[in-house]
Symmetry: C2
């Protein structure tokens, strides 16, 4: 017991890991959505991209990454795949050749509209299992948490 020996805080209980708690909750939710994603032959991230593009016209890659909570290297690969399967299209921005503008295609919209009802059904099931008020409160709490963390991120 020397140099730097403050009273050795006991190790935090493993059940009190905030990243783990958020991950476990997210996994429990995703378990409800994965079957229909698989049925449509699309990944969770690909779905997020289509979902973000829907009804939004042309979106820059950087902005799209922010909307989908994806890093740009991941998004780059995902867009290559979505473009190859004809669900989105890309073109350089006329005013600034560095930027890329992404648009959802008709096929992309069609896929979205076919799966959306299945997704909505799962949301109803989740709200029934947990309570709509508690879900609403959870959205609110999570938003506040993000705001608090971003505001103070030294």
């Amino acid at each position: 017991m020397s140099e730097g020996n403050r009273p050795e805080a006991p190790m935090r209980d493993f059940s009190r890991s905030l990243p783990m708690a958020l991950l476990k909750a997210r996994e429990a939710v995703m378990d409800r959505f994965r079957p229909s994603l698989r049925e449509f032959g699309i990944t969770e991230q690909q779905w997020r991209v289509l979902r973000a593009l829907y009804g939004r016209g042309e979106v820059e890659t950087g902005a799209l990454a922010g909307l989908c909570c994806l890093l740009t290297p991941s998004l780059s690969r995902i867009l290559k795949h979505l473009e190859a399967t004809g669900l989105v299209s890309r073109r350089p921005a006329p005013s600034d050749q560095r930027r890329t503008l992404v648009t959802i295609s008709t096929a992309g919209r069609a896929l979205l509209e076919r799966r959306a009802p299945l997704s909505e059904a799962q949301y109803r099931a989740i709200e029934e299992a947990f309570g709509k008020e508690r879900i609403d409160a959870l959205y609110s709490t999570l938003g506040d948490l993000v705001e608090a963390l971003e505001k103070t991120n030294s």
Copy 2:
């Protein structure tokens, strides 16, 4: 109005995606922990494994995966890496050769004990930014959500 065409529910607002809300919150939290993980040359998942093994003696691979919220293929690769760097050890279970028992090594414990204070400092910062009561309430809500979803997962 025929077969299946109910009145076309409007597309859910993209801000009301529960997986996204949980992901964004988790990312905001992880941004606080990543610097020290990097400093110690370890990934988030490797940390979770060491964290789960600490003070637990020998743990079976399957049980460890459950504790860490990892799938067994991922855990298999992670353990190979941790074993190669001397942070854990593995051996087949004497009573059942199918099972593998994992133990944290002295070096693993040492790494854990060196980083733990940095992690705790971040927890204090998060509680200060958001409020300890709200964090506690969030743990509780997330646990309830998982329970509700698992109980009703048809």
